[in-house]
Amino acid sequence: MTSATRRVVITGMGAITAAGAGVEALWEAAREGRSGVSELRFPRYPRQRVSRSAHISGFDPAAHLSEQELKTTDRFAQLALVAAEEAMRHAGLDTQAPLGARCGAIIGSGIGGAWTSDDGHYNFYMHDARPDLLAIAKVMPNAAASQVSMRYGARGPSLAISSACASGTQSVGYGLQMIRAGMADMMLVGGSEALLTPASFRAWEALRVMAPQACRPFSDKRNGMVLGEGAAVLVIEELDHALARGATPLAEVAGYGTTSDAGDLLRPTVEGPAAAMAAALADAGLAPEEIGYVNAHGTGTVLNDIAESEALRRVFGAGVETLAVSSTKPIHGHALGAAGAIELAITVRALLDDIAPPTINWLEADPKCLADPVPNTARPTRIDAALSNSFAFGGINATIAIRKVRADGRG
């Protein structure tokens, strides 16, 4: 297997979410159970039904981007650039020197430049206004990947993976496979989403899956998800490449599994997610009992949490009762195409610190869900390996498995 010949490690991470700027702020919020959810009101949408979301307040793109970048980017690409800069610095890479042909970028997004579309359509229909001259290049879902590639001179493969809420996790997964396959030695992978526009919010309302008050995954009396926005980017590279340049591997990206339900458009199955988790474990060569933590998809909808609980029972058997599984979505919101990357960054920190972050807002057990999803308070627990799950509309399921590495990388 190629997986045995080329191992891939994470050497840097960056994130910006409603839980704060930077992975440190994100991890602290996740660990302490501090939610970034607050009231969101749209001036252009007066008849709003739901008003809770995990939006990033006070983001000033001019503090992070060049003038040229400011002119040519939507909010989703701006957030990706902020996350990428942090990841580059964290990985000890020179942000001024081109990364070259052996480095690429995969930044997933469910939708792409939603704000540019929303503003452009609004001004076109309402005011017959001159269009944003660069609207197309801002809206395209690969804009974030291309902007990252351009800023850092990454001349290897660059693309966006667009698979709704699985985009971030699949971006990491296919980055892993590209490095294994020898297409690149290093990849900037992750996801970005900035979909909290009035019309998009209205479309989410139409699906009727948003919690009126609080998102409480796996809890009795849960009644929906809370939308978020943000970006996370990880530097992943072939192990020897990382060691040769003196980088510190944070964790190994050990396995990737993905499946499709090929069933209902919106409603999850048990079989698909279970098969994705089993495939990630098999790809990593890990047994279920070696997993110490699972960052669940855990949206907080009635159906996702029942289906995911049952899928976890199938994969982990009786061991699921003692396994630390939690959803951190009530902290940073469901960031859709960025969710998998944000949650993988949290999972890496959980693994490094041997702490399972909590599922907050949890009231009491739902007999149909996992009984003990690390409710409300973080739990110190040994984590040698972990999974991060993402399941998407369209029936796409994706799981990444990570594993601890020793300081010399030979773990």
Binding site: R208, P212, L266, E310
Partner: protein, 114 residues
């Protein structure tokens, strides 16, 4: 082991126990007058693309072939026609049959009117 049904929107599971309605029993709902109920059922038939005659109390959404995407359309039509916003994860999550569904709607419409 219980599995979620492929054709059953939003997990409304096929109801096999006695649900309080007889087979083919006429639908009624406390708080809804006959004319309003009929408007509601016609809406479900139209938006769900099923025959009005199939809409009996113990029909499940699976029986009717109504999928999750159809349910989104039905609930939006209800919002537009009756002015009530009904999330799928509230009381509706427990609704298994058309009878249960109508009961939840009746309660929410009553709240909305109050």
């Amino acid at each position: 082991m219980p599995t979620l049904n492929r054709l059953n929107p939003y997990g409304c599971q096929k109801h096999t126990e006695n649900n309080g309605y007889g087979a083919d029993m006429e639908l009624t709902a406390e708080g809804l007058d006959a004319a309003t109920l009929e408007r509601l059922l016609e809406l479900v038939a139209r938006e769900g693309m099923v025959e009005r005659e199939q809409l009996v109390a113990d029909a499940t959404f699976e029986d009717l072939g109504i999928q999750s995407a159809d349910m989104v359309v039905i609930l939006m039509a209800i919002e537009e026609e009756f002015g009530v916003y009904i999330p799928v994860d509230g009381d509706l999550a427990e609704a298994r049959t058309l009878g249960d569904f109508v009961k939840v709607l009746a309660a929410r419409m009553k709240e909305g009117a109050a």
